[in-house]
Symmetry: C2
Subunit: 357 residues, 2 copies
């Protein structure tokens, strides 16, 4: 039910994803009449997947502007809550939503719990980089402030994801900072830098500055959610402005209408690429289950990408890898410190994760 474009983008986008993944079935959550109305309007080319789209009645919708605390108190028959219930019970292998991010995060934590005692998941999204690669950036806004320990956890989670989901042997992990020297930045990034240098399980490459997000020098870029969210949204804003300017430059300076007309399809492709974030789902990383947030502005094609992201994470069994690698780390940290409240959470704190589910 979420997203700025309403349920059509979600329903049609899910159908698009089913076309790509013949092994997939998808449950749709929302008021039955709304779901059936959208299903009845599916374009002809998507009719073939209709039998794998399973509408599931949810009488309520969590509004876009509802606070997470209110969402937690709200009745449990919203489309978001019922979807997460099915992920928690194992009826669904993963959940995808374009709705209220704060509510999705809060309800996901309650329904699924986290792995390896992670107190709060991070939001991670793949950013396209120069040279055609991509870079996972996290956190994108779930953790407004992040201690050194949280930053280290983000680095670990990002590294596991890039290794397991993308198959990189030694993903290059960097901390976002205002300079590359060890003396630069806030206390938490400096402390996290020192800790990461001592962790052989991470291919830590040190600090990167803002351009390191896009220039292809790192596979994982770690920051707190305040910085990550602002960088992400500033990038979207800049991309929109640049598209406007490219268009204006062409319109203003090319006498020939023919050339402007010829340029249109290329500009259209560029426009899509300029706003790449909209076309990738964001992972709620650290949950004991797979939940993908699709961009609120995503169209059907964008939502289909988010569903595909969920499929990838299910195939690679990402939460199980996170639990194993972060849990191990917790155990080592506990032994090294000789006490249970070592700063790193211990495996026993994450009882609600069951990899067999």
């Amino acid at each position: 039910m979420g997203g700025d474009l309403g349920p059509r983008a979600t329903v049609w986008g899910t159908a698009e994803a089913l076309l790509v993944h013949p092994e997939l079935e998808a449950c749709l959550y929302g008021p039955l009449d709304m779901l059936e109305a959208e299903l009845a309007r599916l374009p002809r080319r998507l009719h073939g997947v209709g039998s794998r789209l399973l509408p599931s009645h949810a009488p309520r919708i969590i509004p876009q502007d509802m606070k997470p605390s209110s969402a937690l108190r709200a009745a449990r028959d919203s489309s978001l809550a019922l979807m997460l219930e099915d992920v928690a019970s194992g009826r669904a292998a993963a959940g995808v939503s374009a709705g209220n991010t704060g509510a999705l995060m809060a309800l996901s934590r309650r329904a699924l719990g986290t792995v390896a005692g992670i107190p709060r998941p991070a939001i991670s999204t793949a950013i396209p980089t120069q040279g055609g690669g991509r870079c996972y950036m996290l956190d994108m806004g779930a953790n407004i402030e992040a201690s050194a320990q949280r930053l280290v956890e983000f680095a670990l989670m990002g590294s596991v994801m890039a290794r397991q989901v993308d198959g990189l042997a030694r993903p290059r992990v960097a901390l976002l900072n205002v300079g590359v020297e060890a003396t630069k930045g806030t206390a938490s990034v400096r402390q996290a830098d020192a800790r990461l240098r001592d962790m052989p399980e991470i291919n830590y490459i040190g600090f990167v500055e803002g351009d390191g997000v896009f220039n292809g020098s790192a596979d994982v870029v770690v920051c707190d959610g305040f910085v990550g969210n602002i960088v992400l949204k500033a990038s979207e804003g800049l991309a929109r402005m640049l598209v406007e300017r490219v268009q204006a430059t062409f319109d203003a300076h090319w006498g020939s209408r023919l050339v402007s007309w010829l340029a249109r399809p290329a500009l259209h492709r560029v426009k899509r690429r300029l706003d790449p974030v909209r076309y990738n789902g964001a992972s709620l990383l650290g949950l004991a289950g797979i939940v993908i947030k699709s961009h609120g502005r995503a169209d059907a094609q964008g939502f289909a990408c988010a569903v595909s992201r969920a499929v990838q994470e299910v195939r690679m069994n990402l939460p199980e890898h996170l639990e194993r690698e972060l849990g191990q780390r917790s155990a080592i940290a506990s032994i090294a410190c000789g006490r249970r409240d070592s700063g790193f959470p211990t495996r026993s704190q994450s009882q609600d994760f069951n990899p067999e589910r």
Copy 2:
């Protein structure tokens, strides 16, 4: 002597600026042989301004990677220090440098002091926005962490600058945050938000998210230097990536070489606009004198823009306005709080500022 492109960009750029501003004379600081070598190579069209370019021998150069603390301890005969000495003595009306930002900031503070007891200047630069406008963003990296009070000072300084230098009647001032609701963000942005709402002298419009930097909704966007620096550098990185992709899209998809050839001049123009930050000088705002930092990557044209920025600030007598408006505010705050250490610095703390200079 500073800048990635060496003294040529600085010397030629200064000459370009003299061409635009016939009332201007410029002192150049550096090893005399290097200055004279560049002056001898000035392109013919710049020969006319040669008599207004005054080389001033400075035997030392502050290296790009020298720490601010080392720069402060270094001998006082560097090009940076001698330039600032001339600004402090009034021989020069403003200083412009493409060199080491940290050293420039530290030496400027020592040589010039600050207005109205501002503990440390902020770096501000004009960002081009959608619709052809611009937005001052500050701080861009001088203050890694900023209390609510510092953010309020940045808002005041940005507002005074947009009003006095750009002639905006009521510049719209916003705080950068991860959401627009009062409950969002870190403690310091929330406290600054509450204070700014009580200040009738500022046209405060509340929080903006990252896209607010580029979408034209604010004339001044305030943030701490950690976020500002990362957003600025991420934007530069994104712009570079997008130029690469626009070019690649044209090259890959357009069969016709003719069209690609026709597109070249337009793309070149876009390229310049895509990297706008490089073409604006950054103001060290809050100094009791005018100092402009030109982007390290600026070419001669970019350096000329930074010189023009300095000319504008001199014309509008920016430090005097800052001293008057912030000093007034300090006085009010002192009375309101009934003590001198009211949190807001008092006017008497800034003895080293002399508006008559």
